[in-house]
């Protein structure tokens, strides 16, 4: 590295570059935060949906499942499970979801097991609402197909 490129120059690139891009990132964040309500249908984010998110966290579903591709990779993606198992029909999905959750664990030997979470009817409904709402978020067309 030549003497023309000094330590002072490198330091200035660090300070200047760091600050410039942090400010730009904050600006883009403001824009993103403004755009999110429409992209996620915030008007449909009911108390039920919010409760469903709380239950999702309290039972650590993300510890096995992924949601919009984020989380663990031990069990299926659930961001589009409403399309995959409910075929976009809310009643059908709720029936499926309730039955599934009540039937866990399958007890099939050697198969990956899901615990029984002992959720009430209200809680099952809230979780289903959360998953339905999540499936409608504008994720730039992700996932590529119904298998998620």
């Amino acid at each position: 590295m030549s003497e023309r490129f000094t330590k002072g120059m490198a330091r200035n690139i660090y300070y200047g570059g760091g600050m410039f891009f942090m400010l730009l990132f904050i600006g883009l964040t403001v824009d993103t935060v403004t755009a999110i309500p429409e992209r996620e249908n915030r008007d449909q984010l009911t108390a039920e949906v919010a409760h469903g998110k709380e239950l999702w966290e309290k039972n650590n579903c993300v510890g096995c499942h992924s949601l919009m591709g984020e989380g663990a990779y031990f069990a299926p993606e659930l961001g589009n499970v409403f399309q995959r198992r409910g075929m976009d029909n809310e009643a059908a999905f709720k029936a499926y979801f309730g039955a599934w959750m009540k039937a866990m664990p399958t007890g099939v030997e050697g198969r990956r097991q899901m615990p029984q979470f002992n959720l009430s009817e209200d809680e099952l409904n809230a979780m289903a609402e959360f998953l339905i709402w999540s499936s409608r978020i504008d994720t730039n067309d992700w996932p590529p197909n119904k298998e998620g």
Partner: protein
């Protein structure tokens, strides 16, 4: 050691190693569960084993960073630590809180842990890597604040070098971004957006400053190259880390509900993220080439150089493989992600931790370095762990490829479901477990090298007084 207060580093390093062992035990459990799906169910379901594995990783690295800081700050500032009592007190608080949290994960169902710890008052649990009860998160914030206070007071009264200023900037950044772990809105998209302000801005941001500072310190000490040269490299590396990594956060915003411009911004800036890691490789090799001394601690130099290479491969190359949006569209949330994550964390952070421990542990015990036999065992362990991790990475990449082929590429009619695809990957998961066992053997060798070092203490050089 030059300053008596550097001894505060010792318990931090020792506990870090203990947690590392725990992390790998649970890693082996997880690897087994991928094959025998109901292994240890229901006592230790997969999600519990996973949160233990990942949380132990993060916490052992934090202990190692703190130990590294306690070791290098007195030497860099040329003054004793402001308060050794505080250093030891915070160690015990952090260690006890950490153990209780892990026990909490293992002994009670997660929902019950949430109730017991009053999560409903400020719900922050249930997000990946942020599974800790809110009270633990508060504890971490307080421990880190106390730690930074102690270090700041030390730096204020001593010499301010580029190394110690970069390190403390990284640590302050770590604390600031940790605060985002307390933000948990009703909106899933907002939750995800700011979750990455902890995770990405840590490991692809301020942690790179910590890594760079520790690497620079080790290279100054072991090669004797002029500090001015080292510090110029350090500034350039961290400049590129921030210039690429801040907007590079956008590569996590492709498919979570954020606007489309992130597909472009995230792709372009994160494509540059390998550059600082590439520079670190050049840095290490260049300093070695220009070395003015043959430092007897070959093991420490091996870890340091190895770290830059493995970090470049894991964070740089494997990161690049799936960072462009058109690629990520198909690979998002597959085993390729896990492949990258494992090699990146091990290469960048686990290895720099072992490099600083390798350099400083003998010095903390009155020796310049370990005996040739102990160093040989240590260097072997570095190779075994590194090659095993590379094997895990290649295997998981293969697993991810099968997933993409079967589950993601076809349309609705032709796509194979998740569980059936996993069945098709089983043979790869078997091999991965074998590689994981090899890694565990490597870790065993590493720990054994400490025993060899103690037994061959008489064959290691005394501390060089003038250095």
């Amino acid at each position: 050691m030059k300053y008596a207060s550097q001894a505060v580093a010792k318990p931090y390093f020792a506990f870090a190693m203990l947690l590392f062992v725990g992390q790998i035990v649970f890693g082996l459990i997880l690897g087994t569960q991928y094959i025998i799906g109901d292994f240890l169910f229901p006592e230790i379901p997969f999600n519990v084993a996973r949160m233990v594995h990942t949380n132990l990783l993060i916490v052992w690295l934090l202990f190692a960073f703190m130990g590294a800081t306690y070791y290098l700050i007195p030497e860099e500032t040329q003054t004793e630590l402001w308060s050794t009592k505080l250093g030891y007190a915070l160690f015990w608080i952090f260690a006890v809180a950490g153990v209780l949290t892990i026990l909490g994960y293992l002994l009670v169902p997660y929902a019950q842990l949430a109730d017991m710890t009053g999560n409903h008052l400020l719900p922050t649990m249930g997000r990946e890597f942020l599974e800790q009860p809110t009270i633990t998160k508060i504890g971490i914030a307080l421990v880190v604040a106390g730690f930074i206070f102690n270090i700041l007071m030390t730096v204020l009264k001593g010499r301010k070098t580029v190394v110690n200023m970069v390190l403390i900037t990284g640590l302050i950044g770590l604390a600031v971004f940790w605060m985002f772990s307390f933000y948990n809105p009703k909106s899933l998209v907002m939750d995800k957006y700011f979750w990455w302000w902890v995770v990405h801005l840590w490991v692809e941001g301020v942690w790179e400053l910590i890594l760079g500072a520790i690497l620079a310190f080790i290279l100054i000490k072991t090669t004797g190259v002029d500090r001015e040269v080292v510090e110029k490299w350090l500034y350039l590396i961290i400049a590129m880390a921030l210039i690429s990594g801040i907007l590079g956060t956008g590569h996590h915003y492709f498919f979570i509900g954020a606007p489309e411009y992130w597909l472009w911004i995230g792709s372009i800036f994160s494509a540059i993220e390998p550059l600082p890691f590439f520079l670190m490789v050049l840095f290490a090799l260049s300093m070695l080439k220009q070395r003015r001394r043959e430092h007897p601690n070959k093991a420490a130099v091996t870890w340091a150089v190895g770290c830059t290479i493995m970090a470049f491969l894991g964070a740089g190359v494997w990161g690049f493989l799936h960072t462009l949006a058109p690629v990520n569209y198909y690979t998002h949330g597959t085993q390729l992600t896990a492949a990258h994550g494992h090699l990146a964390f091990f290469g960048a952070y686990a290895m720099i931790a072992m490099a600083i421990i390798s350099y400083s542990w003998p010095k903390l015990h009155g020796r310049e370095c370990n005996s040739p036999q102990a160093q040989r065992m240590e260097i072997w362990s570095c190779w075994v762990m590194s090659l095993s991790m590379l094997a895990i990475t290649l295997l998981l990449t293969w697993a991810g490829w099968i997933q993409v082929e079967m589950q993601r590429l076809p349309d609705d009619a032709g796509a194979i479901g998740y569980m059936q695809t996993q069945d098709a990957i089983m043979h790869v998961y078997w091999m991965r477990l074998a590689a994981g066992v090899a890694f565990a053997v490597g870790l065993g060798m590493y720990l054994y090298s400490f025993i060899v070092a103690r037994n061959t203490r008489d064959q290691s050089p005394e501390l060089i007084k003038a250095a």
